[in-house]
Symmetry: D2
Subunit: 292 residues, 4 copies
């Protein structure tokens, strides 16, 4: 037998960086992150014999996250992840690849103090950077946990009816989903992208497209969102989406002598539909390691 692909790191390092007085009007900036590292390279010895001479402790990786947060300040998560990845691959000779992922939680200023905030629960901003000595650097950014709903403007009909099909067709349903989207940046754009601006545009594009698209399937919404992000952020060449169909079923109130004209719904937990798909620019380069 043999050792196949492998990697290791520190998962879910929770770091909050405060840049005091660095915000607009002299208030504080904060970055609230959940950082995970995964390193690959010449790590066979540790698996085969327990010789750890090439295994930088995950505790050291965690320490570097905190030290880098001090050094870089309240930066965008993408350059932070790039710098962190570079550090591991350049400083540890056996390490040839680093994968850094960050989930960022936003905080909204409250009051006029400059130092008071409420956590936004709207969504998490995400990024994953992979830096490989031989194959270069990839950057994927995205959002997750963004729950959206159209109370109308969605139909579902014209589907095949097999012996197990009992679902009635509908010309007017609620469409609700949790947007989990990741967009891959073109390699040549990595050096020059304004990461903060790209995120703002992409997020707004997701919201606008969801609101503005009349759909006959959640697949159609997926393609619309993916395409819109591609168009809005030219540095992006590929968008991957996973959209759970958060079913809202109209309740049958007829046993109680009541008509339910799309007014009362049960929000179901499980099961849920799940739509996964990719939208690519026609000239999108091969993703290489980006999604690994």
């Amino acid at each position: 037998m043999q050792l196949g692909s492998n990697r290791y790191g520190k998962a879910e390092v929770r770091v909050v960086r405060v840049a005091r007085g660095a915000g607009p009007d002299g208030g504080d900036l904060i970055k609230d992150w959940n950082v995970s590292t995964l390193l690959s390279g010449d790590l066979a010895d540790s698996h085969l014999t327990g010789d750890n001479a090439k295994v930088l402790p995950t505790d050291s990786q965690k320490n570097k996250v905190y030290a880098l947060a001090k050094e870089l300040g309240c930066v965008q998560p993408e350059p932070f992840a790039r710098e962190l990845a570079s550090f591991f691959t350049s400083s540890q000779e056996p390490i040839t690849r680093a994968r850094i992922s960050i989930d960022e939680c936003a905080w909204i200023p409250i009051g006029a103090t400059g130092y008071s905030f409420a956590r936004s629960g709207e969504l998490l901003r995400t990024t994953t950077v992979i830096q490989d000595e031989a194959r270069g650097t990839s950057v994927i950014s995205g959002i997750k946990d963004l729950v959206v709903m159209n109370t109308t403007a969605s139909e579902f009909w014209g589907y095949p009816k097999d012996p197990y099909t009992t679902l009635p067709e509908t010309k007017n349903r609620i469409l609700a989903t949790e947007v989990n989207a990741s967009w891959r940046f073109r390699p040549e754009a990595i050096a020059g992208t304004d990461w903060g601006a790209a995120f703002v545009v992409a997020r707004q594009t997701v919201l606008d497209t969801f609101a503005g698209t009349y759909t006959y399937s959640l697949q159609q919404m997926l393609y619309a969102i993916g395409g819109a992000v591609l168009s809005a952020v030219p540095e992006v060449c590929e968008v991957r989406l996973a959209l759970p169909n958060k079913h809202h079923f109209a309740v049958d109130l007829s046993p109680f002598g009541l008509e339910n004209d799309r007014e009362v719904y049960v929000a179901a937990d499980r099961p849920y539909g799940l739509i996964e798909g990719t939208v690519l620019a026609d000239d999108a380069p091969d993703p290489g390691l980006a999604w690994t």
Copy 2:
């Protein structure tokens, strides 16, 4: 042996009510609720012999939630809970008490469609109504899951040092908590309260007070918030709060030759401090069954 206090009901009925065209500018209104019922009364038979002649099925209770949502439309959760409680106690002779609790999730309009929304993750609005044939009606409302942070304006010192005390005193720390607050309405105010307005004022008061209070302990913040809600909403006579201290520890970066001047923090999960307390109006009437 004997049967003591008991109650039963349907927990976590998920109902989404859409009032089409009823919103500002002709858009939709939505109410997204998680409703739970608990009924008490002459229920010994079911426990002792399995005779269910007095046990309205929890399935029927669920159905009534949906039917009432149809009938009442997008109302505030408090009158909905009152109406639901009244229904059970008035229509089921053995049932002498009903407890209805509702968690409400807010949705924020997106785009200009009038029918598109994003779920707010800021907080949940809560209410618990208890209606008892002999002892009347109580209404408690509140918020939960609201996470707030002051990056400064908090000290903690002057505490007793026992043999297990190693915590250094601090004149400048991050104070972060998750506000779980419930406020009880005066019985005489139940008939006339503007529930929507009361919630808006209470929520804003919590945020403003958190931002505006310089603290020497989280206990002090608890009392400030409770007192401010009492003052801002005169219909309220009692506020109960449970405030976890979401510790943010400054990371010791000195091993890496770096100074950490309140810039880099680890956000800890467990353990956490927990502060629970009550603030009462001087003339607050006895709560009776309100908190049961």
Copy 3:
């Protein structure tokens, strides 16, 4: 306005105690606990002025948990909680009451090493001790998260049919629940109870009673379990149970030309029935503060 009842402490202190070589056949013993403390007393100053002279830091409370785990070894959770409560009330003059709660997770030996274990996910063992200077000591123990199912031997019929009742009666259903049970010990038994033995008997009694009881309602099962624990553990004077009805609905397969003779069920998440109740010994003394 005024400060009402209040308390504070450290929640969810995770401690794993290993007693090396202390187990049967010279293997290790382990105790895996989640400990929470809540202290009450003369704490108004901290709330009103931020004067912390009477507020033992929650960090110190956490430290004491670890120190006491060293000193006491792998003991039962009940005496640990009592000792911890005593420490706080006796060593901190302003503290007149302590509430200690512990969740214990069991580990099952694997292999023959004596030092290898797999975590049991069957249930959590719980205890809550309250020690009050004026009102004495109470001990409640219990279990939670124990999920059990009878695939038959359960009926539900004879219930009232209101206008919202559509549930068909059944003479043969699946009954499944998650047992959350707490049993209060008689004050006079606290000094002499064999806590480990009491837990073993109570847990087995719950399982045997669930398996051995033919039911017409979940309420009936609640009373049977409560009564059986009372009978099996004479030191116990009161049992409180919260039993969610984990609904298993038979799937209607008739649209597919199939009969479903109690063979295929959907396990529903929400909503669920919830049955709460108390069973008391006829001579049960007043609980005092035990359930607070």
Copy 4:
């Protein structure tokens, strides 16, 4: 722009199958599953135009799960998944690939009734079957959520010390992890494997190997477990593992005048080490689509 790879299905269909009287001694058998389907094929129209003529509703997929559970009875999850995958690819012309995954929860008989059970929380048994018209069938099985601990027999030292390394070396630590393991079956073994027996052997091998392996790194444990499963189940050609290092840190009790000789530990939540790796038979065939 263009549509890239995509798939859709129903996630988390909760089905409980009871085979009455089919167990040993005439008791019931139960299978408690969480089934997810994902279909791929000629699905561009739905994305591009909302034409659903080739989109079998996810609701129909759910119905088929229940119908098949009726027809097949309490079978192993692997043949169920194969049959379900075959159904979709053979009955829906546009569908060329199906991915079926099942999580199975075990229930332990309680009492002597034959119909009473307690849910085991030890682990979940998993399987993922992919059937592709062009590339054939793959079967992966595994376990997840199995938490294990060695209280000794683990060292960690000899690692590189970079400027961010503060971790002390240790010759004696607790090693705890949550085993998430998946093993791929050789294509030629799929027709003839005794799935139930293979699972029993693999699970026991994981436990025995964890208990029996003295380690200098968690990587070493990963390779040992993977290799042992390969050896114990010859139908398996590849094992992938993700092992979080559930850190147990010895508490420093010296400030309290106590020595902590590997007795008192804090069980940390986050961050945690994460070790991922693959062990392959030397003649393992290419996985093809198996892990997608």
